[in-house]
Amino acid sequence: MTEFRAPRHLLSIDDLGANGIREAMSLAEAFAEVERRVIPKVPALRGKVVATLFFEDSTRTRLSFESAAKRLSCDVLTFNAGTSSLKKGESLRDTVEVIEAMGADAVVIRHSCSGTPVQVSRWVSRARVINGGDGSHEHPTQALADCLTVRQVIAERQGVEPDSLGVECFNGLRVLIVGDIAHSRVARSQVLAYTTLGARVTLCAPGTLLPGNVESWPVGVAGDLDAAIKETDVVSLLRLQRERGSGTYVPSLREYTQGWGLTARRASLLKKETIITHPGPMVRGVEIASDVADMEQSVVKRQVTNGVAVRMAVLFLLLATSDARGGIQRG
């Protein structure tokens, strides 16, 4: 395998490719080990400054990035859009340039408008830009956390170390993504990540919540969830994004749940090996029944834990010098 060269920014899963995903997952496993230490902190990125610019409400992703940065001994600048100079009329570009002038080495950006991190990446001179979720476009670190989680479960079943599986375990893996795919940035990153690794991805959603021109996506589309759910290795549920107007895309929540929710009845159709993922926040009773969310097959909490490890890996990939990278202990 050719040596992987880290991209300048992480705006899309496409910036990583299969080698990049493999590298990020490998690093994440190493950092997951750090998290289990008594003092879960390493000096890998001491002196680096990570700024989180969140223009859209988010608790878990921001905390996850900040936690990841601190465990790598970065200094963290938290930019709160609600109380910031943006309220006084400062432009996004000026804000980003000010943050960079304060010495930020990486800028993690979350925005309700698709493409904002791509625009920001054109305005920075030195800092690296990490997409923390943009509109309905992408959420690459979430997709990486999902892949990492799925691989861990597969590795445990086989009794091997996760990293020893590489990414070959995704080859031919059947992944079913269910729910509000049209508005979901997680779905776009998941589709790119899973298909890049060779998985077979199927989407299932009401016609209003399938992405437009879905035939241009490298996926299949399932009409009947009951049939599709019996034939999958991973089922990824997505939240109905009512803040993006998707409430009007279905006649009622009840009808949505009956057709596309993972109800207890539907969960009983799953093979017992099928892994249930959800990027959170979950709306129990809508896309997933409460009992199902707590089933053993559900890996929702592990996805959150792995989110920190994956974000450590991404920060490290983008910010570490090549010397430091060689010094990281694997496995």
Partner: protein, 438 residues
């Protein structure tokens, strides 16, 4: 010494107008063409403009310019917009009424006309169809028509209410004015910010389907049939709309249509980097739509090429893609982009090709706009509105060197073949050797 009227001669060019294509010189006294012919001798005391190697045409007429005055002077003024127009070969533009306040009463018409007195082009003022462009009740169309308004549009928005549009058609037919529609059913468009297609799906941007446009084109063709009104379709962007207009014309309805240079050249994949300079309404579409627009231009379905010159400040074009205003500037690039696209592949465009091409910029839009002193022909007794275009000069578009107050050209960095050398407004040179004189 008594100063007579200015004498001007345009020497050595090839004349292209509705009467034909021929080698010829043009002599002007005051604001009137006094002589046209081959190998004229410039009268004593006349200024001579060299047109050798150039096409000499009637001054261009833009059916669709946003001059932004009054209300958005940070983006454009009549002065800067008309300078950009003159540099692009125009001697007339129709100013869109979506100003602040909008052109929905006589006072605003008078204000725009007053601002335009010293402009570098003739400014035709378009009026709003509805009060405040709010789509609820008709504007004072008779009052506006009495001040010379010939074209009415709520541009920026289509008239959503079909019943109100029917009344507008009936009222306009009675006044003998034309309704120009921005074709967009807003419910179907659904706050889309780009073309709905493969790229919007990948980029996670809300799309506007072609159906949002052709639905309104179809409705207004029916209303033109019902009322006999003259309806002009603005900036058509998709294949299905072009086909509807083709059928309506075959039926003999009094409908006309324009397209923009950007819709005949650019496609929606340009949005891939989320640069709002490529955000425009209607949005850039796919390759099949571009091909259909070019076909419509060749077969006469499309009557005019119009710029939809829409200046926006650089700050506003650095907002997130969803929030940035739609629009592109185009006055300085329209002719060259169109010539480069439609004719420059021809080694020697035929006379009829040249004639048809320039009709799209001159006689046809002049007729739609009702501007009687514009559009030619280049003959004795005509008002001297003239464009001199060098079809062989190569130049590179630079966003920083636009005369417009704004920089939002989608053609920045492009090398174009063909450039306006001189422009003459009512016998007065406004541009000489590609430099505006004021």
């Amino acid at each position: 010494m008594a100063e007579g009227p200015l004498k001007l001669c345009v020497m050595g060019g090839t004349l292209v107008d509705s009467t034909g294509v021929r080698r010829g010189d043009v002599c002007i006294t005051g604001d009137v063409i006094v002589e046209v012919g081959a190998d004229l001798e410039p009268p004593a005391g006349s200024t001579v403009l060299d047109a050798s190697g150039c096409l000499v045409t009637p001054g261009l007429v833009d059916l669709h310019t946003h001059l932004r005055q009054p209300g958005a002077e940070e983006a454009e003024t009549v002065e800067t917009g008309s300078r950009a127009a003159a540099l692009g070969g125009y001697t007339a533009v129709v100013a869109m009424p979506n100003t602040d306040p909008p052109v929905d009463n006589g006072a605003v018409v008078a204000e725009v006309l007053e601002l335009s007195k010293n402009a570098l082009v003739e400014v035709g003022v378009a009026g709003a169809i509805t009060v405040g462009r709010a789509g609820e009740r008709l504007s004072l169309m008779r009052e506006l028509a009495a001040l010379g308004v010939k074209l009415f549009t709520d541009d920026g928005n289509g008239v959503q209410d079909g019943g109100l549009m029917r009344r507008a058609c009936e009222y306009a037919a009675g006044l003998g004015v034309t309704l120009a529609q921005h074709c967009e059913d807003e419910r179907i468009a659904g706050y889309g910010v780009m073309n709905e297609g493969v790229w919007s799906s990948k980029l996670g941007l809300r799309g506007t389907p072609a159906a949002a446009e052709d639905t309104m084109v179809a409705r207004d063709i029916s209303l033109a049939r019902l009322t006999g009104a003259k309806v002009h379709f603005m900036h058509l962007s998709c294949a299905s709309s072009v086909e509807l207009v083709r059928l309506a014309k075959a039926e003999g309805l009094s409908v006309t249509a324009e397209v923009t240079p950007h819709h005949m050249v650019l496609t929606d994949d340009l949005v891939r980097d989320y640069d709002p300079v490529f955000k425009v309404n209607p949005p850039l579409r796919g390759v099949d739509d571009v091909a259909a627009i070019r076909r419509g231009l060749r077969d006469g379905t499309i009557d005019a090429i119009a710029t939809d010159h829409a200046p926006h400040s650089p700050e506003s074009k650095q907002l997130p893609f969803d929030d940035a205003p739609p629009g592109m500037i185009g006055l300085q690039t329209a002719l060259a982009v169109s010539y480069d696209t439609l004719l420059s592949n021809e080694n020697h465009p035929s006379f009829s090709q040249l004639q048809e091409f320039f009709a799209l910029f001159t006689s046809r839009p002049a007729r739609i706009a009702g501007l009687s002193a514009q559009g030619g022909p280049l003959s004795k007794g005509s008002i001297a509105n003239i464009c001199v275009f060098d079809p062989d000069e190569r130049w590179t578009v630079e966003s920083d060197s636009q005369a417009s107050r704004s920089r939002n050209t989608p053609f920045a960095g492009r090398s174009l073949k063909g450039r306006v050398r001189h422009c003459i407004l009512r016998g007065e040179p406004t541009v000489v050797d590609a430099v505006a004189l004021r």
